[in-house]
Subunit: 483 residues, 2 copies
């Protein structure tokens, strides 16, 4: 037997063993009347306690799948003619382990479980805005203008036409992008946009390039969909486009996912020169580019950073953005702008995923985007974000001194930090949680060691200093100083 239980898994060992044998029985490997391995032998083979095997076999017996026959062993029952007095409930654990979509990694799940159940934690982990940064008055105004007497049936699956017009206007005025309502698809944030692109345009075996580190790195969908992923390292002025040429030559990659402006998590922005070269490469080899742009309006500089899509003369870029990081992540309003044929295809995919976006948030978003007040809000937002960033940096310098390194970003909401010395990531993460602080361990976002991501947009100003102090405490613990 090559199979072994995964001892690092959260699932109990006995259940892993039971599920394994249930699978084998389902596959016909143990027909009715045949014996399963003896408890002693199986325990030795799997390198577990015999009591664990006993518990596993008892579990299978409780499902009616085996009988424990004294002096004989554990025997597979004939489930087809099983007499019906015992019940065999669907094995939900087994179902939950199947599924085309892989699960999120355990750390990501843990972060969401903790923050979903206890709001008192200091949250440096989730990429969203703190309550003081939301445009509450603007939202209230838009909300109060909505009349329920308008049509309450399905919205257009591509998105409410008024909203798509507003997005097209916004893209022109704020992102330098020429588009029209027919080339825009409304999505549930950038998350769904990327899902739709993967599920709608790529097939198992296709090669794609993603940034290392990046948000994409943390997304299990690339592997769920059977894609081959190749990594592009992110440098101070973004990804080096020559990496893409070399990946194309070796692996025939079909698509590149990039976050060129105020990159998550590094905060870097791709230089104009590299962007130009990137577009040249895209149209030389016919490689599609996905530009994820959640942050271009959050910069502290004088002029907003121009988007890659604004330079795209040939329609080789699919542009993804949302209101999540600038207005309200709870609205779930994002969009894709791209060639009409692609948008039509992805609209059909969206119909299959959720039958189009909810109506009221779309009506509100349409008002927000066409409101003259949006720019005032964006100015306040940038000032607020910059203030949070400065506070975070100041606290980090106080608490960590020269044991921490980071580049100061000029926009976005994340700080990508390298912590000195030999420390265990999981210990730092868990100890911080024990102290009431949640951060994102670097390994969920990329392959470099000794990194953490601090998201500074979500945390209340007054909690920054105490939060960083506790993080420093957890760091000392993870270094072994406090144990």
């Amino acid at each position: 037997m090559n199979w072994k239980p995964d001892k690092s898994s959260h699932d109990p060992i006995y259940l892993q063993i039971a599920d394994h044998f249930e699978g084998k029985m389902r596959d016909g490997e143990y027909p009715s009347g045949s014996c399963l391995p003896s408890e002693r032998k199986l325990a030795a083979t799997l390198d577990v306690n015999r009591s664990t095997v006993v518990t596993a076999y008892d579990h299978l017996a409780s499902l009616g799948l085996v009988a424990r026959v004294k002096g004989f062993g554990t025997v597979a029952t004939d489930r087809q003619t099983f007499d019906g007095t015992a019940k065999r409930i669907p094995n939900w654990e087994q179902y939950a382990k199947s599924g085309f979509l892989h699960r999120n990694d355990p750390i990501t799940r843990h972060i969401h479980a903790i923050l979903g159940s206890d709001q008192s934690n200091i949250n440096f982990a989730i990429g969203e805005l703190s309550p003081d940064l939301f445009p509450v008055a603007l939202m209230q105004q838009a909300h109060s203008r909505i009349e329920m007497s308008q049509y309450l049936g399905y919205e257009h699956i591509q998105g409410n036409i008024g909203l798509r017009d507003s997005i097209a206007g916004h893209l022109r005025t704020h992102r330098g992008i020429a588009s029209s309502a027919s080339s825009i698809l409304v999505t549930s944030g950038a998350q769904q946009a990327i899902q739709l692109i993967i599920q709608g345009l790529l097939k198992p075996g296709d090669g794609v390039a993603i940034e290392d580190p990046s948000y994409c790195f943390s997304m299990p969908i690339f592997h769920s969909a059977g894609l081959r992923t190749y990594r592009l390292s992110v440098e101070q002025d973004g990804v080096d486009p020559e990496q893409i040429v070399s990946l194309y030559k070796r692996h025939r990659i079909k698509m590149v996912f990039l976050n060129p402006i105020y990159h998550n998590p590094t905060g870097t922005t791709m230089s104009a020169e590299r962007r130009k070269r990137l577009l040249d490469i895209s149209t030389k080899f016919g490689i599609a580019i996905v530009e994820d742009d959640p942050y271009s309006l959050t910069g502290f500089g004088q002029a907003p950073e121009g988007t890659l899509k604004s330079m795209d003369r040939d329609g080789s870029v699919l542009y993804v953005s949302s209101l999540s990081k600038i207005v309200s992540s709870g609205l779930r309003i994002g969009w894709i702008a791209g060639p009409h044929s692609v948008i039509q295809r992805l609209t059909d995919a969206k119909q299959q995923l959720d039958f189009g976006h909810s109506n009221i948030p779309q009506w509100i978003a349409a008002q927000l985007l066409s409101s003259g007040e949006l720019d005032n809000h964006l100015r306040k937002l940038r000032t607020g974000l910059q203030h949070k960033l400065e506070q975070t940096i100041s606290s980090l310098r106080t608490e960590f001194g020269d044991r921490i390194k980071f580049r100061v970003p000029s926009g976005g909401i994340h700080l990508w930090c390298e912590l000195d010395g030999e420390w265990d990531e999981l210990q730092l993460f868990n100890q911080a949680i024990d102290l009431g602080v949640v951060i994102t361990p670097g390994s969920t976002l990329g392959s470099h060691r000794n990194r953490i991501r601090l998201t500074y947009s979500r945390v209340d100003d007054r909690e920054i200093a105490p939060g960083i102090r506790k993080l420093a405490e957890a760091y000392r613990y993870a270094l072994g100083f406090d144990r």
Copy 2:
């Protein structure tokens, strides 16, 4: 060459040929400098005009993939060292044809394209309510109570806790189901619920049973996900559960999808006896059941039909429902109730698909479901639906006489009709559209011939008689009488 262009496809033949050769070149079958087949030979092999092949090769040349060399033929270029003067835009048609998610069938796409662009059609095709059936005052009341000063960040991915509490209360009082907020996941309608179940709990090669006819029959996701689907025929008192036993024995099906109450499209309801037997079979063989219940509150009888889930003592049923057919489909509020472990798994999947549902529709739905006014609305809704059904039946009798057959449903929103004689489905469908009436051809929902589905909930009362008159005209055309 075994490959042939698909002449019934909407895609131009020349593009199919060009894409085919581009794929081969990508796969290395035509290295740089090698010759593609001669135009004359290829035209003969593919049984197309030579001019079509010329157009295809010209297209490839425009992409820089081949060079037309006089007196020699069509030669693959070396794209790696291509000189960069010509451009090769990403081949979006090719991307759009890939994709894990298969496209909806052409008829379904056509229905949505028509109804999305021209509201003046008489709509017997989309399963939603007409404007006069929406609870506008109730929605307005709920809407006006919402304050934007509450937290505008991400909602809990499993769904707003207040909404999940309201759904649990509603399930108890209106559907006879015991549940709690922790065993409920809020989804974007039943559509997303079924997607999540498929993508989160099943894997390629798994066998599932679906009803024939049914809404599931029309969903490409079953095949996109690589599932083997087996059909259960729907009889007057629902599906015969013995069919499931036989499918299990032969194909080891893992899940059964059913719409037991006021079934779409047949309107039938599964008998209590069959439901009991179904649950016995589920817990005998460990087969999971998905109960899709959009309609149980729409019945014209005295007492509402009890749900299958209300009889489920062992937790083998995943219960799916929504507000789409009773309040507003535009809100996109649906839910899954089931075992906690399954709900956790599907919550993780929903995070990956869209990062949780939009906030405001959830807050509104929570108010609606806990409002004492909901029952008043449901009473009015049932009366309104019954009126539309009676009008539809009366018009059908007038226009079609004994050439149409249907069972009169006691709830739901659909009428499943069999039309007499030899008629062409596509002709009926297209001719009806020419006359301004949209219906659902039976072949999109099941394997029986000569069927159409008339959805009577969406159409304005005054449009029923003229709509059916036009449909009868299209029917005569499809029979060949009017040509």
